[in-house]
């Protein structure tokens, strides 16, 4: 494959990305006596931004490094488009990754850093200037990268990942050091990238950030998969209704009869799960119970996340 292939790929090749883009099967990684990842399996599909969530030390970075062939799993395997990363013919044209904020020689300019990486992948040097512009570093490109701010370092890392115009992006805590504008830019960029049929796996321990970035969530804790589900499902699972009524006993019985989850929180307050406000209101009407208050208590992603990971910790 020639170097001229990068700039304009045939649209047929752009059209379909194999699914799953990333597959981790039964991976366990032990560092000495520490087990960083335990029997972890997950899949990342094209078309959506997949968030990789977990507290610090949950094994997110180790998992990403196993996918990228930097760390060898003790057991199990990880593949990109069905192949181990190390067997990919043109790895950086397939996967772009940002793992650490500092991954460059501080005495080399940002532009030269990208030129070095472009050479290694046979990417034409003119692509370097395109990428610098894309990540907003055209003005700083000729300065030594050691002088860059945290946000600029993140952008340089992202630029390196985008050099080969990959179809899959893997970003480890990319929002670290980005200002709100930068996060919004990243969100729009990743959304657009995924919408073109590409795959994105982005890790974070900051949940509000993830709520902005991701569509799909993979939650791990202590090296184990806790949950893989759409982000919206993760929050709606624990969505509760708060009902205030003087006849809590009768209403609770009626709701229970119809299969809803009911917890009495006070003499006149019920917390109801498994139905929306309209359904609960209608049941109350049918039961002829006065309702003094009916409100949706949408627990935040953070609550859902804490619930999931605490369950595991028990």
């Amino acid at each position: 494959m020639g170097a001229n292939r990068t700039a304009d790929r045939p649209s047929a090749e752009r059209a379909s990305l194999g699914s799953p883009a990333i597959s981790v099967r039964g991976v366990t990684k032990r560092f000495g006596s520490v087990t960083a990842v335990r029997d972890l399996s997950l899949e990342v599909h094209p078309g959506v931004v997949t968030g990789f969530l977990g507290p610090n030390g949950a094994g997110k970075s180790t998992t990403l490094r196993i996918v990228l062939g930097l760390v060898a799993p003790t057991e199990g395997s990880a593949t990109v488009l069905g192949m181990p990363y190390r067997s990919l013919r043109e790895p950086t044209k397939t996967v772009g990754a940002v793992l650490e904020i500092q991954s460059f020689n501080p005495l080399r300019s940002g532009r030269n850093h990208l030129r070095v990486l472009a050479s290694a992948s046979g990417i034409p040097q003119r692509r370097v200037d395109e990428v610098l512009e894309l990540v907003g570093l055209e003005a700083a490109g000729r300065r030594n990268a050691g002088t860059y701010s945290l946000g600029m370092r993140q952008r340089l890392g992202l630029g390196a990942a985008l050099l080969g115009e990959p179809r899959i992006l893997i970003l480890d805590e990319p929002a670290n050091g980005l200002d709100p504008q930068g996060i919004r830019w990243l969100r729009d960029f990743l959304r657009g990238f995924a919408a073109e049929g590409n795959a994105v796996l982005v890790s974070s321990h900051v949940l509000t950030e993830m709520a902005q970035l991701a569509d799909e969530a993979i939650v791990i804790s202590r090296g184990r998969l806790v949950r893989q589900a759409p982000l919206s499902e993760l929050t709606s699972d624990s969505r509760e209704l708060v009902v205030v009524t003087p006849e809590a006993g009768r209403l609770a019985a009626a709701l229970h009869e119809r299969g809803l989850g009911v917890v009495a929180k006070a003499d006149d307050e019920l917390h109801v799960t498994g139905g929306d406000a309209a359904r609960v209101g209608m049941i109350a009407f049918e039961t002829r119970v006065p309702v003094l208050g009916l409100a949706e208590k949408e627990s935040s992603l953070e609550d859902a996340f804490l619930e999931l990971t605490e369950e595991d910790a028990r």
Binding site: R65, L70, V71, P91, V95, L107, A120, A160
Partner: protein
């Protein structure tokens, strides 16, 4: 592989490190040559160029700079974290090792040629100002330069392998310098028959300094080459197994 070599050469030329090394080497060589020629009695200086003592400055120092260049090749990348994007672009790790061997050998050759050029550019005019008739044998000079380049290339390879094996930059450079500048000297005083097989002595044998006590240049080169193979094998072995975490 060709892409990776191009990338490694670009790494060498895009920080000021190699230019700083070149400047340092030039300064040491210049000072050394001037000191030797101005101190020398005119009688001692009457000799063909290839036998001039001031050549020893380059022959001693340039290979050492080659070693430093090699030691920095991987340890810089571990130190700054650039090993991650390097291995993402070239996940076949032995290919990165091979490319670094080629690029640092090239860098070492450039440093050595520069050192020799400075030596001659300063030494010859100084001899002339002392009224000494400068003569030389081109073939003898070619042999000296060839030995210098050979020694430098082998030392860069030792440096690349050792740096990869040790990984930690300060440990690798300090360890190598303490060994070469102190430990080997002590051993050569205590057990000269053993110490002449050590890497530093083998290196001196290649460039033909202190030839009386040492191995022949060819034997020295073979021995230094063996050390290089061991260093590369050790570094390569560890690299294949090492997690970049």
């Amino acid at each position: 592989m060709r892409n990776q070599i191009a990338s490694e050469f670009r790494k060498l030329t895009t920080t000021r490190s190699i230019y700083a090394m070149l400047a340092g080497l030039a300064a040491i060589v210049a000072v050394g040559v001037v000191a030797i020629v101005t101190d020398g009695q005119p009688g001692a200086l009457v000799a063909p160029l290839e036998q001039q003592a001031f050549l020893h400055v380059s022959l001693t120092i340039a290979p050492l700079f080659g070693l430093l260049l090699g030691l920095r090749s991987f340890t810089d990348e571990f130190r700054y974290g650039s090993i991650v994007p390097t291995l993402l672009a070239s996940p076949v790790r032995r290919r990165v090792l091979g490319a670094k061997l080629v690029a640092t050998a090239g860098g070492g050759v450039a440093l050595s040629l520069a050192a020799m050029a400075i030596t001659i550019a300063i030494g010859v005019p100084l001899l002339i100002t002392k009224g000494i008739d400068v003569t030389w044998s081109t073939s003898a000079m070619a042999v000296i330069v060839g030995r210098l380049l050979g020694a430098t290339v082998l030392w860069t390879a030792i440096g690349v392998g050792l740096g990869l094996a040790v990984k930690h930059q300060v440990a690798a450079i300090a360890g190598a310098l303490v060994w070469l500048l102190a430990a080997e000297g002590i051993f050569s005083g205590l057990v000269p028959d053993v110490a002449k097989y050590f890497p530093g002595a083998a290196g001196f044998a290649v460039v033909g300094i202190n030839a009386a006590d040492l191995l022949t240049p060819a034997l020295g080169a073979a021995l230094l080459g063996a050390y290089a193979v061991v260093a590369i094998a050790a570094g390569g072995f560890l690299m294949q197994r090492r997690d970049i975490a």
